[in-house]
Amino acid sequence: MLRFNMALLLAVMLCSLGVITAQHKARKLFQALEAEQEHARGLDVEYGQIQLELSTWATHPRIEKIARERLKMQTPDPAKVVVARESSPRGGGGAK
């Protein structure tokens, strides 16, 4: 009888130690998860900021200014434009 009780006691001890370890591991994992989620939120915020920055750099007035002034680009003279038509019959297609 005594031996049986001792065995039960040992089993209880082992189980409770197991519970403690499991709980500890769960908390560790949970914290890691939290950290990752925080990281994800941070990246999300950064994405928004980068998107904002992108659209600030890519505003049309700025692009036009750079194209015209720094790169010396201009709208092509309509007379120099050649229009290639796709759907016209074979041989007859092509440019104006």
């Binding site: 908390r27 949970f30 914290q31 939290e34 915020v45 928004g48 900021q49 998107q51 904002l52 992108l54 659209s55 600030t56 890519a58 505003t59 049309h60 007035p61 036009e64 003279d77 309509p78 007379a79 120099k80 434009v81 229009v83 038509r85 104006k96």
Partner: protein, 578 residues
């Protein structure tokens, strides 16, 4: 008393009444029962209070904030975006700052030290020190670990395209609710719903475990507008230039996709910068294209012509005598800017004869004319979803006098907004169908409208409108190299205090390419006062620039030989181009 043994103690020999001991037992039992009862009550029956108290020792409810949706143009370019900022607030009575701490804080807050001290020297127990500062500055403030200084996450809305799209996008207030434009119109979709979760936090403030249910935050939906950033820029910059060149008071441009009814561009001048809204005037804030009405003038004439063709009363080449350039109805006289002789119906539109149009309108019953106006959307809001949309003024036909019917045929005595006018012109851009307008990008596919005119009528009116932009018409300056353009000028007097003043609204509304219209562009310039006031001179060139750029942006194939229009379009033509 002499000593005695314990067993001989007289106390033991006292004979007390039996009820006394029983009474003690009963009292003790009663006390125990009441204790057990009380604890049963607290633990089992009414345990909410204590459980709550217990939980509050370790459980925290935290709010998970959701962000507001973005607004983008049809190509995904961002027009409005929220980014988290921190607001720094203080409980002044808790704040004890050493001089160097105070200096560091003031610097991080971008405040004068004196200003900071003034803010803290209040007896209120809550004061914002600085709202919406960048997160990294807020982190550095948090690292100072100052007592009584706290921070809070807030979202700030940015509008990268600024004044260019101010009227269409609108803006939000400090509480992140839409106040104007799309921000207000789509408030329900854009708004995010904050979530919440209950957690257990440990001593260091780290979250250890989730308890109870988690309510996930719902971020606001992104709204993709029909707006095309490039066309919007083109429309805005051209409008700005035109208003400045003509010393005008204001102006608006609307660009519609003729196939789908999408609003590709909508610009007004004057405008404002939605990122910095200090000292705004009503004139800057007004989305004129939608909320202001004006008497359109001659741009109304094609509708009169279309009705005449539709009812079979006139043909394309029916002759109308407009000599001597004056027509008296009742006590009023209608006159043409330049007198003409006998004109065909097409020429009446091409040369924009008021007399001719009034004569055509004289053959209509008031009811059929009213029905036509009503069917193309005049007199009722275009239902774009914008705040403050107006329907204009279209009086009931029962009270029309003949002179009113005559003036309405060429666009006076009736008031419309520019958006309404642009939409009505889409009838001539389709096969006679009026399309519903859309601010948001539509899935590809045909859009069904309401049939107003027959394809035959529309074809003929479009030819008339094309004649107006050709030599002999009122708007040769509205031509676009490489495309056939159809359109109509408008030069209307403005009403001030009930009488027509010598002030004008110059407008041009047109469509291109005329062989298969893709775009409707409407330009309106309010009070041009630099010598020129005719729609063809003021609004025509602006139309041409916007249309040319937009068609090129969209890659619409040319439908006219490039060289024929070139001489008109290029003021100083390059020799090798001819």
């Amino acid at each position: 008393m002499k000593p005695h043994k314990y067993t001989e103690s007289p106390v033991l020999h006292l004979k007390l009444d039996a009820w006394r001991s029983r009474a003690i037992v009963v009292l003790l039992m009663a006390a125990m029962v009441s204790l057990v009862g009380r604890s049963f009550y607290l633990q089992v029956i009414n345990n909410d209070f204590l459980q709550e108290k217990g939980e509050s020792r370790y459980r925290r409810d935290i709010e998970v904030s959701a962000s507001r949706g973005r607004i983008t143009d049809r190509n995904g370019e961002v027009l409005a975006i929220s980014t988290p900022m921190k607001s720094i607030w203080a409980i002044p009575s808790d704040v004890k700052l050493a001089p160097d701490q105070s200096r560091a804080l003031a610097q991080l807050l971008d405040l004068e030290q004196r200003e900071l001290n003034r803010k803290l020297a209040t007896d209120r127990n809550f004061v914002f020190l600085q709202r919406q500062i960048p997160p990294d500055a807020a982190d550095r403030i948090a690292a100072l670990k100052l007592p009584g200084i706290h921070q809070e996450k807030e979202y700030r809305r940015y509008y990268p395209s600024g004044e260019m799209t101010a009227h269409i996008v609108g803006f939000t207030g400090v509480d992140a609710k839409g106040l104007e434009g799309v921000e207000l119109a789509f408030q329900n979709q854009l708004e995010g719903k904050n979530g919440s979760r209950s957690v257990i936090k440990d001593r260091r403030g780290q979250i250890v475990e989730d308890v109870g249910s988690i309510k996930p935050p719902q971020d606001g939906r992104d709204i993709q507008l029909a707006l095309d950033g490039k066309i919007q820029y083109l429309a805005f910059s051209t409008l700005k230039q035109t208003v400045t060149d003509n010393a005008a008071k204001a102006g608006s441009v609307v660009v519609l996709d003729a196939k789908s009814g999408e609003v590709l561009a909508l610009a007004n001048w004057p405008t404002y910068n939605p990122n910095n809204r200090e000292r705004l005037s009503g004139a800057q804030l007004r989305n004129r294209a939608v909320t202001d009405t004006f008497e359109p003038g001659s741009t109304m004439k094609p509708f009169t012509a279309a009705l005449a063709l539709e009812k079979g009363k006139f043909r394309f080449d029916s002759l109308i005598n407009t000599a001597p350039g004056k027509l008296t109805i009742g006590t009023a006289t209608i006159s043409d800017a330049h007198p003409h002789g006998v004109l065909t119906l097409a020429q009446v539109i091409q040369k924009s004869s008021n007399v001719g149009t009034a004569k055509v309108a004289g053959t209509f019953a008031p009811k059929e004319m009213w029905e036509m106006f009503d069917s193309v959307g005049f007199g009722k809001p275009p239902r774009l979803g914008f705040p403050g949309e107006v329907g204009g003024r279209l009086r009931p036909y029962a009270h029309w006098r003949p002179i009113e019917q005559a003036t309405m045929s060429y666009g006076h005595g009736i008031a419309v907004s520019l958006v309404q006018m642009a939409r009505a012109y889409s009838v001539f851009a389709t096969d006679g169908e009026l399309l519903p307008l859309s601010l948001t990008k539509l899935p590809p596919g045909p859009v069904t409208g309401t049939r107003i005119f027959s394809p035959q009528t529309v074809q003929e009116v479009r030819t008339m409108l094309e004649m107006a932009t050709q030599p002999g018409g009122t708007a040769p300056k509205a031509q676009v190299p490489g495309y056939r353009v159809a359109g109509k000028t408008g030069t209307a007097y403005k009403i001030e205090n009930g009488v027509y003043a010598r002030k004008y609204v110059a407008s041009f509304i047109g469509l291109a390419p005329a062989s298969d219209p893709r775009l409707v562009v409407a330009v309106m310039i309010d009070e041009p006062s630099n010598g020129r006031h005719f729609g063809g001179d003021v609004a025509g060139p602006a139309f041409s620039r916007i249309m040319a750029g937009a068609l090129r942006t969209l890659g619409v194939p040319h439908d006219a030989p490039l060289n024929s229009n070139l001489q008109v379009a290029q003021v100083v033509a390059e020799p090798e181009g001819m």
